[in-house]
């Protein structure tokens, strides 16, 4: 039934673009590079007749990876995919058999053209921590990057610092910060609102104080996070904290880049890619680049964080692997590499081209490639890295101070131990998943049969009754015909995926590999007993729901009463108040982020200082409590229109005679509202409450657009948490169990609501 409809629809709509000859598909997310890619692709087609289609669908790496993962599971990856480097991410795809092995080609001379510290990121050596075959290559680097500290030469001069000799040691750096601050210049800004930026800063000092051996020991577990190396690294964060721009942990890197370009801060930690960004935003900006200031007391060298920038991997399922490799060889050739660098102001991965950079700032970055951290190809679970980043945010925001560092490190260490023990429990305790699964399935059917039996018994379904039912059903055939289309679509596209999801919640699955291991209730046990972060996110959603129920709906009711009272321009108000719900989340997120910006360019802060309330100016999205409050505000702002319309509709159903009768009895104002309006509105109130709870507890896109769950997880809500578990931490099975728990909770809440409203209704 579905198929014919689908086929007809497809025939009607599908505008295929089948091309003759070989066409290679490439997915990536570097929207900035798309024009150059297209230019080079056209050149390649002219030379060889092979068409290469580059497709950048989203500039958001997370969203892009979601798309990639879905395509990987379904084995419909394009010929080549853009990746950000090796590590765990690529390893997952390799182990799931999604990526083609390039070892042979690389060893046959291809690798020689690349700068080794860059190519190294796509290489898995003997003893790598991910279980990838030792000594193998899996990707082709297009560009290189590393992160250093940009500084504004003009601001340095203004503070009496020598822009030709930026601070090289940590004490000197702090001195410089103090001088800048005393001149009223914000010393440091960076996109610490993005989690990875926090990790990027800390990791440099973690290596500086632990050394390569120490980092290896930490990952393998023989060194605890509660050790001097890590304590020292976090101390540097707390040293830096007082010199960062206000609300820096609520500032995504894009905003930080704009602020730096605008001369609002003297220094910014950023990657080599930013050279181009700064130049385009403000061509007059006088920038310098310095390495991280080192601590002379540390016995270890100071490494820079960096390596591969953009890279492409060939998909294992591609029908044109040879052509893809051929294209990539051409693409990374000297002249093409040069082209990419010239136009994109990028550091090339090609060694020969590296020497041809003439831009002094880029040169400094190219030189930095020599000091990169050694690639160790092992890492702690993503959750631990996320926790570390959040810890840095907490210290930077001032929510935690240097005296809390030991407690914070204990947190990180215990999270790691918990994850390790969960993993070993999962691997050790499950003796025979297959048997467990059979037992579970049998149990499931038995329970279902018992429930259905009990229901049938309670309804008095004897054979005769069933016959009656059958007769009724036959007589009401038309009803089923009317129901059929909706039911069919719901069964296929709604219920079936849901049941699949529900079943997945009993498995351990990374969301990519072909093996799904049955684990019984384990995921649920972990959700209920061992995942405080999930329940914290529930708490945040509960606050949002509560605020929406009381403030948003209360205010909506208040305005509905005013408008219903017959005010002039009623229709115009009605029209305008419903505008927010129809706006897309992209618009809402962009505009409100700008309003709530933490520095003096934020609109709200500007308005406060203009009205003499400058002392109230805050980093609205940069401080945990304020960020949650801001999210709540915008959620209510957008949801308010719905409640308003529903209340207004409800008010109009109250018969005028009731009010007339009441006014004869002398009821006015408050007592009129309390004795007539409110009881009459009660059913509406219940509906609005249910819809509000369902909407707010499942809020997702708005939080993603405004804060991404930050700072330090302060605005994490269940659905963002579930999304990240599934698509970032490769815990697909586990994430579905959280979705089920949330779903059950919502059903429970809705049920309670309905019961309350029924009770109240019958009492009336």
């Amino acid at each position: 039934m579905i198929r014919p409809i689908a086929v007809v629809l497809s025939l009607l709509l599908f505008t295929g673009s089948a091309a003759a000859g070989v066409t290679l598909q490439v997915w990536h997310w570097w929207t900035d590079k798309q024009p150059q890619f297209e230019k080079l692709a056209a050149e390649y087609e002219r030379q060889t007749g092979v068409k290469v289609v580059f497709d950048a669908s989203s500039p958001n790496q997370g969203v892009y990876y979601t798309k990639l993962q879905a395509a990987a599971i379904a084995n419909v990856l394009p010929d080549m995919v853009g990746i950000a480097g090796g590590g765990e991410f690529l390893a997952r795809y390799i182990l799931a058999g999604k990526i083609a092995d390039l070892t042979g080609e690389m060893n046959a001379g291809w690798k020689d053209r690349f700068f080794w510290p860059v190519l190294r990121d796509l290489y898995y050596p003997e003893g790598n921590g991910y279980g990838v075959a030792p000594g193998t290559f899996w990707g082709v680097p297009l560009s290189a990057q590393n992160m250093q500290i940009f500084y504004n030469r003009d601001l340095f001069i203004r503070a009496g610092l020598n822009p030709g000799d930026p601070p090289r040691t940590w004490p000197a750096f702090l001195d410089a910060c103090r001088r800048l601050k005393s001149k009223g210049i914000v010393p440091f800004i960076s996109g610490f609102g993005d989690l990875w930026m926090n990790e990027a800063f800390l990791v440099v000092y973690a290596w500086h104080y632990n050394g390569e051996e120490g980092i290896r020991e930490t990952v393998t577990g023989s060194r605890s996070y509660k050790s001097d190396g890590w304590r020292n690294a976090l101390m540097r964060v707390s040293d830096l904290a007082p010199f960062t721009a206000r609300g820096v942990v609520g500032t995504p890197n894009k905003d930080a880049e704009r602020a730096f370009c605008d001369g609002q801060a003297a220094m910014a930690l950023n990657g080599s890619w930013a050279v181009n960004v700064y130049r385009q935003m403000n061509p007059r900006l006088n920038i310098g680049v310095m390495s991280f200031p080192a601590d002379p007391a540390s016995p270890h060298p100071l490494y820079l964080r960096g390596g591969v920038g953009a890279a492409l991997a060939v998909s294992a399922g591609s029908a044109h692997k040879t052509e893809s490799v051929k294209f990539l060889k051409w693409f990374t050739d000297r002249s093409q590499a040069l082209d990419l660098v010239r136009e994109g102001a990028d550091i090339p991965s090609n060694r020969e081209v590296l020497g041809e950079i003439d831009d002094p700032v880029l040169k400094q970055f190219a030189a930095g490639l020599k000091d990169l951290m050694p690639g160790i190809q092992m890492s702690d679970p993503g959750e631990v890295q996320t926790e570390i980043s959040k810890t840095v945010q907490q210290i930077l925001s001032g929510a935690r101070s240097s005296s809390d560092i030991d407690a914070l490190l204990t947190n990180i260490q215990s999270l790691k131990e918990k994850l390790v023990s969960q993993k070993s429990r999962a691997e050790g305790a499950r003796l025979d998943p297959a048997r467990l699964e059979r037992r579970f399935t049998a149990g499931f059917w038995i329970v279902l049969a018992v429930i259905l039996g009990a229901m049938a018994w309670k309804q008095g379904w004897t054979a005769g009754r069933l016959k009656d039912l059958g007769r009724d059903a036959a007589r009401a055939r038309h009803a089923y015909a009317f129901l059929a289309p909706a039911l069919l679509i719901y069964l296929v596209f709604g219920l079936y995926p849901f049941i699949k999801t529900f079943l997945l919640s009993f498995y351990s699955w990374d969301g990519l590999s072909t093996s799904q291991t049955f684990v019984g209730w384990e995921n649920y046990v972990n959700v209920m007993t061992d995942d405080p972060a999930f329940w914290t996110s529930m708490g945040h959603a509960a606050w949002i729901a509560l605020a929406a129920l009381l403030l948003q709906n209360g205010f909506a009711l208040f305005l509905a009463l005013i408008v219903d009272g017959g005010i002039r321009g009623k229709n115009i108000y009605k029209l305008i108040l419903y505008i927010p719900p129809i706006l897309s989340v992209i618009v809402v997120g962009l505009v409100w982020r700008w309003i709530f910006k933490g520095d003096e360019t934020g609109l709200l802060n500007q308005m406060l200082s203009m009205s003499g309330l400058g002392h109230l100016a805050s980093a609205w999205l940069g401080e945990p409590v304020l960020a949650l409050a801001s999210v709540i505000f915008v959620q209510c702002w957008q949801g308010f229109g719905n409640a308003f319309i529903l209340f207004l509709a409800g008010l109009q159903t109250i018969p005028e005679e009731l009010y007339e009768a009441a006014s004869i009895d002398g009821a006015r104002g408050w007592s009129r509202f309390w004795h007539i309006t409110f009881p009459m509105l009660f059913p509406v109130l219940c509906i609005i409450s249910i819809l509000t709870i369902l909407g707010t507890m499942q809020t997702f896109a708005l939080v993603m657009a405004m804060t991404g769950g930050g700072p330090a997880g302060a605005t994490e809500v269940p659905v963002t948490y579930i999304y990240n578990a599934a698509f970032e931490h490769f815990k697909f099975g586990y994430s579905t169990s959280m979705a089920v728990v949330l779903g059950i909770l919502l059903m429970g809440l809705a049920f309670v609501q309905i019961q309350i409203s029924k009770k109240a209704y019958t009492r009336q």
């Binding site: 960004v277 909706a486 995926p497 229109g641 979705a739």
Partner: protein
């Protein structure tokens, strides 16, 4: 006299409050519009000004000149309109029998639909995608529209049923006595009466579908020619550098249609919501 003054003050205060709320509601729209006329360096300065230096339409020209922009626009129109039609048709048919027919399983099926509003989406994402692959529907419009219709059904059925419950049964019985078939009753009597609720459901559905992008990105993400506007607009956001005025111009273009739909249909909305959600 005193009563009059009190009333006047109350009226003025009400208007003041409503003006303020209206301004807050309209602000993002206004800001988007204002920004779309600016130059990039105008938005990068520290003191943000609301008014652009001059009315510059070049951002719109650039946005519209992007080769695929028109195509994305048409795709969005297509997805939204077909989804709306599908939801209106299927939900009204189902609600018609939920409301006006007695048949075994009626209540069960109804709650079955309503329950689906409580399922958080991200979990069901991958299974849905795998299913679409098996049905050969990935990278086809149908593969997007059918799940879209599903996503709108539950709430629409809830609204329609509430509305139909208000229509007196006698009307239908009379028609049936005249020999009308069930289908004819649905088509000739129910549908013409259902205008307000049809408008309401149209607004709700169109709003959700027009602004959706995550599902679209995954399901038709492999076929550029099928991108809806919201996915197409992504490319106006750079990884590192975003041309905000250009992005805003694109967003204005993307917002106009849904705004127009809303303005055209909103006068039915109160009526539809009243009967659909409140009395039902």
């Amino acid at each position: 006299m005193q009563y009059k003054i009190e009333r006047w003050i109350r009226g003025a205060a009400s208007h003041l409050l409503l003006w303020f709320v209206s301004a807050v509601c309209l602000f993002p729209l206004a800001w988007m519009l204002a920004t779309s006329f600016k130059r990039l360096d105008e938005v990068s300065t520290s003191v943000a000004t609301f008014w652009p230096e001059e009315l510059r339409f070049e951002n719109y020209v650039i946005a519209l000149q992007q080769a695929e922009f028109g195509k994305y626009f048409l795709n969005s129109v297509l997805y939204t309109s077909l989804t709306v039609v599908g939801v209106l048709l299927f939900a009204s048919m189902a609600s018609f029998v939920f409301s006006k027919s007695v048949f075994p399983g009626s209540r069960t099926f109804f709650y079955f639909f309503i329950g689906s509003m409580m399922i958080p989406i991200p979990g069901a994402f991958i299974p849905l995608y795998v299913l679409l692959i098996n049905l050969d529907l990935v990278n086809t419009p149908a593969g997007l529209i059918l799940p879209y219709i599903n996503s709108g059904l539950a709430f629409a059925i809830y609204l329609f049923k509430g509305f139909f419950d208000e229509i007196p049964n006698e009307l239908l019985e009379a028609a049936e006595l005249d020999g009308c078939s069930r289908w004819k009753v649905y088509r000739m009597i129910m549908m013409p009466l259902a205008k307000p609720i049809l408008a309401t459901v149209s607004i709700f559905t169109a709003m959700a579908i027009w602004n959706e992008y995550l599902l679209a990105l995954v399901i038709v993400g492999g076929q550029k020619a099928l991108y809806p506007l919201q996915v197409g607009i992504m490319k106006f956001q750079g990884v590192h550098l975003t041309d905000y005025p250009l992005l805003m111009a694109a967003l204005v273009i993307a917002t106009i249609p849904i705004l127009v739909i809303y303005l055209l249909l909103q006068k039915f909305m109160i009526k539809g919501v009243t009967a659909g959600a409140i009395k039902g």
